[in-house]
Symmetry: C2
Subunit: 348 residues, 2 copies
DNA sequence: CAATTTTTGGCAATCGCTTGCCGAACGTGT
DNA sequence: ACACGTTCGGCAAGCGATTGCCAAAAATTG
């Protein structure tokens, strides 16, 4: 990088463009070809003779030429950027999704635009419309949109959702039913028969899904269910959640997510309700912190980072329909119950 | 959004552009003016008559016109995008920085490009050069660059660093010396006289800074110091760190960051070393989880989100030098010691 | 009311790159 | 050698904005 100034000096005449970033034109001139040839050599290598191509590539490298993504997308129509919308960047659940998408996008030469929609469907919609010109597609993690909104959006742009099934867009979800069943069996085998579901945000699809499965499966097993909430998916909502759950007389709770569960843990301890002796707690997501909270949380784990990666590949295959690719519309990530210390035998 | 199709129908003739996003030209035609006027009406309102401007704005709204950021930046030279580079998106320490920058950038009409540099200075450099055409500036959180690299980069582009002082770029740092002094006083007042510093990554500026202050201040107070490490700033490195620290015979540790400290907590518990009875631990950063780990961590807290915000405003004022703005080159965020349960009286 | 200044809006060049189209050069089969 | 199919590289027209320059219109002034 540093040597290229000296490099242009070595051409004989002083460097023409002292500082300004080199453009395709600079490369073309220096290589003695037209800009169109440079363009092709760089982005459509087969279209140009090998020796020409190599010369151009060499010159480009010497000049440290980097094509302007703006100019490129202006003329080509593709931006090579994908927006990833998450309800809350500080929620650890999304960390791994973000990392997963980031990895996969970068590998494919795309840029990731991360947007925090602050749990607001308005903001989500707004972003969707404001960014439509600047990205090729969207990944919506835990979208708060209604079905209708989602359908409309998916009609005009490439979208993949995570943890939000929809008939209109490809989706990657985690296997909630399977997960709930595992949790339920774990709890019943420990002797619990009165179990409470601690509900997350009303606009959350996965919350609805979890509750539904929980209720159905519980009925089948003759478990007495109750439900409290909704609560915001934050540790700070845990106190209220814990109090509400304690009142129901349940001996175990399945909690919408780990954030809430961890908050509950703290509150229960304050109130002298022992976990798991008096009350068992099962969380969801196995987020950062679930393993070192007190007590460590039994929780439903899932390969979240992979979910992000899968979402990206689904989106990209939607954007660049390859030959033999069977466009998957749905991916279900497996789950497993990670048992730690927040669950134990039911009190007598 | 939905009404605009019907809107164009109501003009009498069928909608001209059925689907394609409306361009400035569409707006111009519909409003009966030239594109240049539309451009001005929208981004330089004083340059155009009030009634014309309002008509244009109305038409733009009807059409749901959104200017193409690519086209805009091609001609104007500004991208209205800022890249934020962090060493590890899944490190909770950066969450709040990210959220802070995101907020502030959005408020100023900028787009945030988040990049995970994976603790690698090569990747950081690479990003810096690859993105130079697509962003107006960079925020480097905990940069791993050398001084020389940083200086070079800062020479050709707008940069603000966080937690990395540099003569060449404006910086926001947290008040490490103050923090270390607080921690030290806390520990000495509890009777500790042999304290170990648990070191983070060798390329981390704040690590170096913390160690330096620790050593100096300890010397003044007659404390016997030791140092172990370096360790990667992850909970998984905590085990090795704990073992190493235990060997030193120190009764208290000041740990590079909370991630590492939390990992140590787990290991110490496994080994039956009680915290704080046998060993006191002080972390840094007060990240998510520091309050609910076991035992809750005494740590040095700092307004991280605000650091992100400040960094953004420093960067923006660098980009758009306002009139009376005294361009600050350095912002120091205050710190305070949050005492929880991981520190206690020194063993006899 | 003429002269001058200020507003206001349009023209057209430009930003850097992609791509459809075309012609030159180069093989090939007969 | 001739007609024909390929390959390769250049020309030039955009992509959708911004902006310097200019002229028409309006406002101000003496």
């Amino acid at each position: 990088m540093a040597e290229l100034t000296s490099n242009s000096l070595s051409t004989g005449r002083p460097a023409e463009a002292p500082d300004r970033a080199p453009t395709i034109k600079d490369v073309a001139e220096r290589a003695g070809v037209a800009t169109s040839t440079v363009s092709r050599a760089l982005s459509n290598p087969d279209r140009v003779n090998r020796v020409t191509r190599e010369r151009i590539q060499q010159v480009a490298a010497e000049l440290n030429y980097i094509p302007s993504s703006q100019a490129r997308s202006l003329s080509s129509g593709r931006t090579l950027a994908i927006a990833v919308l998450v309800p809350d960047v500080t929620n650890p659940f999304y960390f791994d999704i973000i990392r997963g998408t980031q990895h996969q996008l970068k590998a494919a030469g795309y840029t990731q635009l991360l947007v925090d929609t602050e749990e607001s469907s308005e903001m989500e919609q707004d972003t969707l419309s404001k960014m439509r010109r600047s990205v090729d597609g969207y990944i919506l993690a835990a979208s708060r949109l209604t079905d209708a909104q989602l359908a409309e959006a998916a009609g005009s742009q490439a979208i993949v959702t995570i943890n939000r099934a929809s008939a209109n867009a490809p989706t990657v979800v985690i296997d909630t039913p399977g997960a709930v069943v595992q949790a339920l069996e774990h709890l019943t085998s420990l002797g619990h028969s009165k179990i409470c579901y601690v509900s997350g945000p009303p606009t959350s699809w996965s919350n609805a899904k979890r509750w539904k499965t929980f209720e159905e499966e519980s009925r089948e097993r003759g478990i007495i269910t109750s439900r409290v909430g909704p609560f915001a998916p934050k540790t700070t909502s845990g106190a209220a959640a814990a109090d509400a759950a304690a009142r129901t007389g349940a001996t175990a709770c399945i909690v919408f997510n780990d954030l809430l569960a961890i908050g509950m843990l703290q509150r229960l301890r304050e109130r002298g309700i022992r976990v798991p002796e008096d009350m068992s707690i099962v969380g969801c997501d196995d987020i950062f912190g679930a393993d070192f909270c007190n007590p460590p949380l039994t929780t439903i784990a899932s390969p979240i980072e992979q979910a992000g990666r899968v979402a990206v590949s689904m989106l990209l295959s939607q954007l660049n329909p390859l030959q033999g690719a069977t466009n998957r519309r749905l991916a279900v990530m497996p789950t497993h119950l990670t048992v730690r210390s927040s669950t134990g035998p039911a009190p007598l």
